[in-house]
């Protein structure tokens, strides 16, 4: 039932061990929270899973296949898509084009049909898909704006739209609520839940405890590159170690 399994994953940068012997599983269809103080190694873990880093040791198993060390685009094609901690968009393109890139990302390059315009059908399907995604996310009215002109909340939503357009099975979301006000956060939470309800498994890194506790079905807690605890939000809320290392300090 687990879509993703991380087995004894270790990542070192020179002498620094950013991740030490991490193991956990993500159940299909759930929102899985990944929390821990700054520098705990959450982003590094995402980069390992998404293929941006090669693990020093350990295995990452996705739908029964070992994926550690494969390049990012291959992993993306298998269905794992990562959103970035910093808001990352194609700033100079319109909202529509941003999402269109996501749609085309996996399709084969065919130079001749592109020059001769023989891929009309593909284009049409892609454009419809973009409109569908924008409708789903609620960005339809902004489709001709430049990405750089959007307010923060819409920029984050657009980042998710790009990811959705590439039809992922597993989304790794790195701090999607950072810097948002209450209203934007609430909107984003609804969106996250909507994505999950459409059948996509989500791993969520987030500092906003209210959001995490409200959204996640299961939590994994990291601290200084080590696995500190795991359990349901209820269990984590009452875990002594976690309170000491993290929750206590934050409150």
């Amino acid at each position: 039932m687990s879509i993703l399994e991380v087995r004894k994953l270790t990542k070192q940068f020179g002498g620094l061990t950013a991740l030490a012997d991490i193991s956990f599983q993500v159940k299909e269809g759930e929102i899985h929270g990944l929390i821990g103080p700054n520098g705990a190694g959450k982003s590094t873990l995402f980069k390992n899973i998404a293929g941006f880093y090669t693990p020093t040791k350990g295995e990452i198993i996705y739908q029964g296949k070992k994926i550690a060390g494969k390049p990012p685009h291959v992993i993306a094609k298998m269905g794992i898509v990562r959103t970035f901690q910093e808001t990352t968009l194609f700033q100079e393109m319109t909202v529509f084009e941003n999402v269109l890139v996501g749609c085309f990302a996996k399709s084969r390059i065919n130079l001749f049909s592109s020059i001769l315009g023989l891929d009309k059908q593909l284009q049409k399907i892609a454009r419809e898909k973009v409109l569908e995604v924008l409708e789903f996310i609620g960005l339809s009215n902004r489709k001709n704006q430049l990405a750089s002109e959007l307010p923060l909340g819409s920029q984050r939503a657009l980042a998710i739209s790009i990811a959705l357009a590439s039809e992922p099975k597993l989304m790794l979301m790195d701090e999607p609520f950072a810097g948002m006000n209450m209203e934007e956060t609430k909107h984003m939470m609804d969106l996250t839940r909507k994505v999950q309800e459409s059948g996509i498994t989500i791993v969520l890194v987030e500092h906003d405890m209210k959001a995490v506790m409200g959204l996640c079905h299961f939590l994994t807690v990291l601290n200084f590159g080590h696995l500190l605890a795991e359990g349901t939000p209820e269990e984590i809320r009452h875990n002594e170690q976690v309170i000491e290392a993290y929750l206590g300090g934050a409150k």
């Binding site: 940068f13 980069k47 941006f52 880093y53």
Partner: protein
């Protein structure tokens, strides 16, 4: 055997020159992030100064070396202040500006020296040092070797033993972090290009009596500097010095046996191979992501 020994000596002397201009290029790139395409032309200006003042007007060699160093340093400082500083957010713009300077300096050289054949400077130091029966080194080369070694030694002392040198290396390692720590980036940039310019001027002045001087001599210099920089590791000064010596030996030997063009082709291929196998060079450290 004799040929080999002779080539090793020649290679070492050559390595001194290579190190002088390559280190400057590395310093400028490290601190400012600009690839100074006009670096070869700075060396050319140094050589022209010697030709004009020493060979044409009879001013003694040593003061002329100093004048060359000062002149090239000033050109470097002007480039920093008026070109690289305004474009510091766009490394490509800096590169393009340096190409503009390259053209201007070449034309200036043509205006000063005329368009005719390459110029020669008669060696100020005559005679030959006879080490063994079979090993002869002209005094001019001996002089050049020791002066370039002294120049590099001074640089090493400056970078490792003075506060300013330390700041310079800090900026080369991490520009933003250094700025946060209160290091004045503009001042350090000026020092970097000043030092780079001084070394290029020195290299040009020392090479003048040993090479053909013409407005386009910078081309070979910049190719060599690129090769040395890449092989040594971008941003690594000690790497550049080591690579300069290794490459000079490599180049000298291949030139002796196969000719200069083949030597340069091999050098370029060596560089491509290094780029593929270890893009950070022999002494470079890996920067992730």
């Amino acid at each position: 055997m004799e040929l080999i020994l002779q080539s090793i000596i020649n290679g070492l002397i050559q390595g001194g020159f290579f190190a002088l201009f390559a280190v400057g290029l590395v310093l400028i790139f490290g601190v400012m992030g600009v690839v100074n395409f006009a670096h070869g032309e700075l060396v050319m200006v140094g050589a022209y100064t010697v030709w004009l003042l020493h060979a044409q007007n009879g001013i003694p060699f040593i003061p002329v070396i100093l004048i060359a160093i000062i002149l090239v340093t000033v050109i470097g400082l002007l480039m920093e202040r008026f070109l690289f500083r305004p474009t510091c957010n766009d490394p490509l713009a800096g590169l393009i500006c340096s190409i503009g300077i390259l053209f201007i300096l070449q034309v200036l050289a043509t205006v000063v020296g005329g368009d005719g054949p390459s110029k020669q400077v008669p060696p100020p130091y005559q005679g030959t040092l006879i080490l063994f029966d079979f090993l002869r080194v002209p005094y001019q080369r001996v002089f050049s070797f020791f002066v370039s070694a002294a120049g590099l030694g001074t640089l090493w002392y400056f970078l490792t033993r003075t506060k300013l040198g330390w700041a310079l290396r800090a900026v080369a390692l991490d520009r933003e972090a250094s700025a946060l720590q209160g290091i004045n980036i503009n001042r350090i940039s000026m020092i970097a290009i000043g030092v780079g310019g001084a070394l290029a001027g020195l290299a040009g002045a020392l090479m003048a009596p040993l090479t053909n001087i013409n407005p386009h001599m910078g081309h070979n210099v910049i190719i060599t500097a690129f090769i040395v920089t890449i092989v040594g590791g971008v941003g690594s000064l000690s790497g550049a010095v080591i690579a300069a010596v290794i490459y000079a030996l490599f180049h000298t030997f291949i030139t002796v046996y196969f000719g200069g063009v083949i030597a340069t082709i091999c050098g370029l291929l060596l560089m491509v191979v290094v780029l593929i196998i270890k893009p950070t060079g022999i002494m470079g450290v890996r920067v992730s992501e």
